[in-house]
């Protein structure tokens, strides 16, 4: 972000705390950017002549007689095709040693797309991972997070998804990414020869936490440019949105706001919706798909962050370690893609919906059998078959290292049904049964 200073005035700074400072001015307009003591800040509150500025890089060292400049503009990003292949910080400044990007200034956090100008998403995004494609199919224009505990390999899965997704453009918003993970993404993209398709906005854990508030807006403003102006299929990766929420709560706390559940600001739902609702399918072909990561603490999805997220996003993907096969799987019970109904059985083979449901139901019977086993009860023949089925299902389909196409996933499911079950135990519509039932295996 570069701003032409048109007003350079020294103000008396009255109050300073960790994230904000208050000064006297009658010039400020709401939401505009200012430069305080050389640092970027944004107007977040005006009461009479008292203007509260949120200072992105923190307030340490800001004196009471700081030099302050109001820019008259909301936060901006320069957009053009020159963004491609580049790495930027939270302010849109290059961090890869390359030159500044030339282009048109776009305000961050722009207006809402008119719902009647949207198109119903209908194009599936194949990832090769059966836990996603078979059970929780992702569609262009969808927004879906991974809910994962910090130790799970969500960044690896995201990188796989991004590279296999056949998107025209991938935009990575790294929110409080560790430096190691930043290098991981950089390497993976470089090795895949995909760097020219990728734009990255990175805030690492080494950077000030309030700066994180800018990352998603930067990524999404760039995404809107590529999806609308260039008609591209854009995939936005945001990791980790929980850290964005933490930054929100720091600011709200510094502004003495009453917090609601889990010390999060009362506006958390609106704040997150503003980001995720940028996911869209346009009739002209351009689209924005958002895949995010929200880390959980101890798998608790009732915490305000995953809870509000779940109500906004179109489903969620859960990663879980399956100790029996020693691999990470996409949990079929707790994961959900709300938009899968738009494509399964329509863009994929007709048996997809029923096969998916039957497979998960049998997997759930296996979970019950396991509980019985753990409680020391005898298992019935059906229970034993369920357990054997579950192990193979987990290994051949749910594991995240699976990379096959959807027809193969369906064939594999039928193969497992035929191997372990009788027709009536699988309970699928008869006409499909007649066509696909496979008891040779």
């Amino acid at each position: 972000m570069e701003y032409k200073a048109f007003q350079k005035i020294f103000y008396k700074v009255n109050r300073i705390n960790k994230a904000t400072c208050v000064l006297q001015s009658h010039m400020a307009s709401y939401d505009e950017m200012a430069v305080v003591h050389g640092r970027l800040a944004q107007v977040v509150k005006i009461i009479g002549n008292n203007v509260t500025l949120q200072v992105f890089s923190g307030t340490d060292g800001i004196p009471t007689n700081a030099e302050v400049m109001f820019t008259g503009n909301p936060p901006l990003l320069k957009v053009s095709t020159e963004l491609a292949g580049r790495f930027f910080n939270a302010y849109g400044k290059p961090i890869d040693g390359g030159p500044e990007v030339e282009g048109e200034n776009r305000p961050l956090g722009g207006p809402t797309v008119n719902p009647t100008q949207r198109k119903r998403p209908s194009e599936l995004i194949p990832t090769g991972i059966a836990g996603i494609d078979l059970n929780n199919t992702i569609v262009t224009g969808q927004k879906i997070p991974f809910f994962a505990d910090p130790e799970q390999p969500y960044n690896q899965v995201m990188a796989d998804v991004a590279l296999r997704a056949k998107a025209d453009r991938i935009i990575l918003g790294g929110i409080g990414l560790t430096h190691d993970d930043y290098l991981f993404y950089k390497n993976v993209f470089e090795n895949a020869g995909a760097l020219d398709r990728i734009v990255s906005f990175i805030n690492t854990t080494e950077d000030p936490s309030i700066e994180r508030l800018l990352i998603p807006d930067m990524a999404l403003t760039a995404a809107e440019y590529f999806a609308i102006d260039r008609n591209e299929k854009v995939l936005v990766l945001l990791t980790d949105v929980a850290l964005y929420c933490d930054a929100l709560s720091i600011v709200s706390n510094n502004m003495d706001q009453i917090s609601s559940k889990d010390n999060m600001p009362a506006s958390l739902y609106s704040d997150l919706a503003r980001l995720y609702e940028k996911a869209v399918q346009f009739p002209q072909g351009g689209s924005i798909t958002i895949i995010a990561v929200t880390t959980l603490s101890g798998g608790d999805i009732t915490h305000a962050i995953p809870d509000n997220t779940g109500y906004i996003t179109e489903g969620q993907l859960f990663l879980r370690r399956d100790s029996e096969i020693g691999k990470t799987i996409v949990d079929p019970f707790r994961s959900l893609s709300r938009l899968k109904q738009l494509v399964i059985g329509k863009k994929t083979r007709e048996d997809h919906p029923q096969v998916m449901n039957a497979a998960v139901r049998l997997y759930s019977d296996a979970a019950n059998a396991r509980t019985k086993q753990e409680n020391g009860f005898d298992l019935s023949d059906y229970d034993k078959r369920c357990l054997r089925y579950a192990k193979e299902y987990s290994e051949k389909l749910l594991a995240i290292d699976v990379n096959i196409d959807i027809d193969k996933m369906l064939d594999t499911s039928w193969e497992l049904f035929g191997r372990y079950f009788k027709k009536e135990e699988v309970s699928i519509k008869e006409e499909l049964m007649n066509k696909y039932w496979n008891d040779k295996s």
């Binding site: 505009e32 005006i46 009479g48 797309v113 719902p115 998403p121 739902y269 609702e277 009536e424 519509k429």
Partner: protein
């Protein structure tokens, strides 16, 4: 509205969408104002007044607003426009017609007319010269899609008037004068087909509000059979995310027997609205054979639209419903989700620095929700006709906790409770309505009971109670089996458990995405319930518990195929025969 612009003020402070304004002019609570930011005029509503400080919630983004910006007060409350042409429209929370905007984005300060000024309507008078009329009386009607849209004496008209003249049958625009009324003071009123009404004020021009007595058919078995919704009744669906609230609401919107459906998406996902307006114009109303969109109005306040408009959107939906009810029509409002509206209230309350109630919600939350639900109901109009508003709202309890304030407050106001269970959703048992925790108070109403006797069967209530009891007992048997182990319990426990599973799989579960199974007419529901109960009344002979589950799975499988098959078709009958065959294998009469 005549823009006199005599009352003005100046912006003194901005926190997100809360704007404080100083004004020396008289200003009313809930008055509407326009805040001038550059060329744009942003809509706001007065929500608190302290001396000369006026607190306004702005319905649009306040970016770029400055202290000293000019404000113009209108002297009106937030009103919407009522008249023919609302059906099939997609409005935002403040009733702008979204299809009239041609830009990709909704730009700030952009509004559009709710009705089409140029459309011609075929008006037929229902009243004649010399008739004495009052507010809400029917002057005539036009045909709006398939709905008889009555042209009413405007609600704002006070006292009795005589019709001095009324136009003849013919084509008119909404702004054309169709009648002239005069009262005893010789005060004359020219009436056209449009009127305005403030959304926060209930429209109460009816002679009586009655207890609901008739069932509102939805085609969803678990609702109609076990937990029926009444016409003019209220209900709510709380459920954690992913338990299928939206799919259930869409199913009801498609299938319910109502003349007008108002779908209020309040702070919800834009793609869900896209779903409705993509699908409904293609689908047919199963009762009239006309396109579904023809009877539907969508109020689209997506979650990324300004928060204040979210609160307005549910009131806009209710006011439109009350208008259609005054025409003697059956209206159904589906609001998804009322929690977002409560959260909008919380955000404002928080910015106003009010003392918070539970979970930081405003103290008057319970009262606000109760007052809102009370606007639904079955009414008799002055002319003896009747109309109804049935209200079904979803609640999104935070963390899936049904003890949170919005769920608690709604539970006190609504008469039907459809609890969606995470456990059922995890097992993919959709719709995930929990049959034991959910209830319908209407089943206890004697007037409803006699309606069911008359319209379904004299044994219906008895059968429904029986099915419910079997489900509860099935759950108890399941728990016993889980505690004691498969062979630690008598064989009969397994049989009882599986009989409950038959009811669960065949009556409760329903495939909303299957063309046949998605909607079950009440006649078919009666048939299926009877069939399933017959099976639970039978005695079977089994050698071992393993035989029990295998056998009932076969029964469930055939019954499921039955649900997927056209009612009473040849295939249906042949499946039925197959079922009889399986039953006879083990049955000891």
């Amino acid at each position: 509205m005549i823009a006199t612009a005599t009352k003005t003020g100046k912006v003194t402070g901005i926190i997100a969408n809360l704007v404080t304004i100083a004004s020396q002019d008289p200003v009313a609570q809930n008055e509407i104002c326009y805040i001038h930011v550059g060329e744009e005029r942003l809509l706001g509503e007065v929500i608190k007044i302290v001396h000369h400080d006026i607190f306004v919630q702005c319905f649009e983004s306040t970016r770029g607003m400055k202290v000293g910006n000019m404000v113009e007060f209108t002297g009106e409350m937030l009103e919407i426009t009522l008249g023919p042409g609302m059906l099939s429209k997609i409005y935002d929370g403040l009733q702008s017609d979204l299809k009239k905007f041609d830009s990709l984005f909704i730009e700030r300060g952009q509004h559009s007319a709710a009705l089409d000024a140029e459309s011609l309507w075929h008006f037929k008078p229902l009243a004649k010269k010399g008739d004495i009329v009052q507010a809400s009386d029917w002057l005539g009607e036009v045909l709006e899609n398939a709905v008889k849209h009555r042209i009413l004496v405007p609600f704002k008209v006070s006292g009795k008037f005589i019709i001095e003249s009324i136009v003849e049958e013919g084509e008119y625009r909404i702004d054309d004068v169709i009648a002239v009324l005069v009262n005893s003071d010789s005060h004359k009123l020219e009436i056209n087909m449009v009127q305005k009404w403030p959304i926060k004020r209930p429209i109460k021009f009816y002679s009586e509000k009655m207890r609901p007595f008739a069932m509102l058919e939805t085609g969803v078995r678990v609702i109609d059979t076990l937990i029926p919704l009444a016409e003019g009744g209220t209900g709510f669906i709380p459920g954690p995310f992913g338990t299928g609230k939206t799919v259930l609401q869409h199913a009801i919107a498609k299938q319910a027997t109502a003349d007008v459906i108002i779908y209020a998406a309040c702070g919800e996902r834009a793609n869900e609205i896209v779903d409705v307006f993509t699908e409904f114009p293609e689908l047919y109303d199963p009762h009239t054979g006309r396109k579904l969109m023809e009877r539907t109005i969508i109020i689209a306040n997506t979650s990324n639209m300004p928060v204040a408009a979210r609160e307005a959107s549910v009131y806009t939906a209710m006011t439109i419903a009350e208008y259609y009810r005054s025409m003697g029509l059956k209206v159904l409002i589906l609001a998804d989700s009322t929690s977002r509206w409560a959260q909008a209230l919380r955000e404002m309350s928080n910015r106003l620095e009010e003392l918070p109630g539970p979970d930081a919600f405003p103290m008057d939350l319970t009262a606000v929700i109760a007052n809102f639900y009370a606007r639904a109901g079955y009414v008799t109009l002055h002319n003896g006709e009747s109309g109804s508003i049935t209200f079904l709202g979803t609640v999104s309890p935070s963390g899936g906790n049904l003890k949170e304030p919005v769920t608690e407050a709604t539970k006190k106001a609504a008469r039907c409770f459809y609890a969606l269970s995470q456990r059922r959703a995890d097992q993919k048992r959709y719709p995930a309505v929990d049959p034991t925790e959910s209830y319908s108070k209407y089943l206890e109403y004697p007037e409803m009971q006699s309606y069911l006797h008359e319209h379904i069967s004299t044994r219906w209530i008895q059968q429904v109670t029986k099915a419910r009891d079997l489900l509860i007992r099935g759950r108890e048997f399941r728990d016993q089996i889980n505690i004691l182990g498969d062979d630690g319990v008598p064989l009969d426990y397994h049989v009882q458990f599986w009989k409950a599973e038959v009811i669960d799989f065949i009556i409760l579960q329903q495939d909303a995405f299957d063309a046949v199974d998605a909607m079950t007419p009440i006649e078919r529901q009666r048939y299926m319930l009877e069939l399933v109960l017959q099976i639970s009344n039978m005695d079977f002979k089994f050698g071992s518990f393993e035989e029990v589950s295998g056998y009932f799975k076969r029964i469930i499988n055939v019954l499921k195929q039955l649900n997927y098959t056209e009612f009473k078709s040849d295939e249906f009958e042949s499946k039925n025969k197959e079922l009889k065959k399986i039953i006879n294998e083990k049955r000891i009469s």
